[in-house]
């Protein structure tokens, strides 16, 4: 089981006839908030800042435009952020409302701080000499499970940010959404694998170089998430915020049959 970029992709007929996919982040809304706070060079104390709320909501919209559904926790967090924002926008008498807003904010900050504490503890664990990775013994072999830890791992948020740049570029280049085709994701997998295999490693963005079709970009992206999930491909950065590279993972290439239908 793989949970670095843990995405379960399931085709499902949405109400509008479009295909919806469910994106199961094991990374939760707290991750996303920390990610945004860091990206904006703010402190956790600023988590209720307008810019963070806006970017958080933009994220959910972006996921929606990618036909991805997120876990309910993301929506609960969005509601909390909006509630804090609404308190701050409404002119109101001093008193109860104010306290409530402050309390919401304080609660959120405390949760984030607490969460950050365990994130740091996790980093410390990862830096230890780990059996089966750094040190070995006889004859107990570690359960081979997944992919080697490369240089800098890419979080699913980094990937989504990168794909949103591709989609923006597309908007400028081509008439948008002329035809929204349904492209079976399974068809994208061999193409992605071949592209990566042919050059050893490729830059994430180059995967979409020749694409002008929005549906194709989205399908390719979803296919890539599936391959990352299976460990057939790994994504990494050499430097923080640097280009994202794709490489063959150590997981054996599975048969390309997949439940992620069109």
């Amino acid at each position: 089981m793989n949970d670095e970029v843990a995405v379960r992709i399931e085709g499902a007929q949405g109400a509008a006839g479009g295909v919806r996919f469910r994106l199961d982040f094991y990374e939760g809304p707290l991750d996303l908030l920390l990610h945004l706070v860091k990206r904006n060079e703010l402190s956790v104390q600023d988590v209720a800042a307008k810019v963070i709320t806006e970017q958080y909501l933009a994220y959910l919209e972006l996921l929606d435009s990618l036909n991805l559904d997120v876990a309910g926790e993301y929506l609960v967090m969005a509601a909390t952020l909006l509630l804090i924002k609404s308190y701050s926008l409404l002119p109101h008498a001093e008193g109860a409302d104010d306290d409530e807003s402050e309390e919401l904010k304080r609660g959120l900050i405390e949760r984030l701080l607490e969460y950050q504490r365990y994130r740091e503890a996790a980093d410390k664990l990862a830096a230890r000499s780990i059996l089966g990775r750094d040190v070995f013994t006889t004859p107990g072999e570690p359960v081979p499970d997944g992919v080697e830890s490369g240089p800098l791992k890419v979080s699913v948020f980094d990937l989504i940010e990168a794909i949103s740049a591709v989609l923006r570029r597309l908007k400028d280049k081509a008439p948008r959404d002329l035809v929204l085709r349904d492209i079976p994701i399974a068809e994208c997998l061999p193409r992605i694998l071949a592209a990566v295999q042919s050059r050893g490693r490729i830059e994430f963005l180059s995967l979409f170089d020749d694409m002008t079709d929005r549906s194709l970009v989205v399908a390719t992206f979803l296919g890539l998430l599936e391959l990352l999930k299976r460990g057939e491909i790994i994504a990494y950065q050499e430097v923080r915020f640097g280009p994202i590279f794709l490489e063959r993972g150590t997981a054996p290439a599975a048969t390309t049959d997949t439940s992620s239908g069109s």
Partner: protein, 216 residues
């Protein structure tokens, strides 16, 4: 042969054989039981001397205390070559997995809902993986509504991360301290921005440099 007459050199060689054959961490009691011919104190001091001889250099192994026992392990600097030889894939340790493991390690015994509250996201998949890999075990059920499952770490967790015991986990950053630091940062910002009288919650808006008029 009985009693205290075991030659120290021989004892060390014997211990080396035992630890090599066992692979897993072996407690002092088990070593004593297998050796029979030396008292516990002599074994303990032989192990301690062995450990320093190994780590003195020129050797491919180290002797470490992990998970309540003693274990021979390869030197970390040769990890790459050993992995290549064994064609072994290192255990996959994703961020969500390590994060959940850290929460359990520091807060155990802890229930599923408590873990999910701390992480802010459904953690059942990650918990299954941790159970599968025997880094975590089910330690019972809490006498609370719904009788939620209680999780705790295993001896394998200590072994995997080279920890002698749970108390050897590095200290968690002091939460009070973190909170105070964050509050101070917030207060400074508050003072420097003196919100207008009409808008009570202005400080967080002024954090957005692109929209300075927001507090109007």
């Amino acid at each position: 042969m009985t009693g205290h007459h075991v030659d120290d050199q021989r004892l060390k060689a014997l211990l080396e054989s035992l630890l090599f054959a066992a692979g897993e961490p072996v407690t002092l009691a088990r070593l004593e039981d297998a050796i029979q011919e030396a008292p516990r104190d002599q074994i303990r001091s032989a192990l301690s001397r062995m450990a320093s001889e190994y780590s003195a250099g020129g050797r491919g192994l180290v002797l470490e205390e992990v998970g309540g026992g003693y274990q021979l392990r390869t030197r970390k600097e040769f990890a790459q070559q050993v992995r290549k030889l064994l064609a072994a894939k290192p255990p996959r340790l994703s961020r969500p997995l390590l994060e959940t493991l850290a929460i359990i390690a520091y807060r155990q015994p802890i229930t599923g809902p408590e873990i999910e509250h701390l992480r802010g996201v459904d953690s059942s998949g990650v918990l299954d993986t941790l159970l599968d890999r025997r880094l975590v075990r089910i330690a019972g059920r809490k006498e609370a509504p719904g009788r939620p499952i209680i999780y705790a770490t295993t001896p394998e967790f200590l072994e995997a991360f080279g920890l002698k015991e749970l108390d050897s986990l590095p200290d968690l950053k002091d939460f009070q301290e973190l909170q105070r630091a964050a509050e101070e940062a917030g207060e400074m910002r508050h003072e420097s921005n003196e919100p207008g009288p009409a808008v009570a919650a202005a400080p967080e808006q002024s954090d957005d440099p692109s929209d300075p008029k927001q507090s109007e």
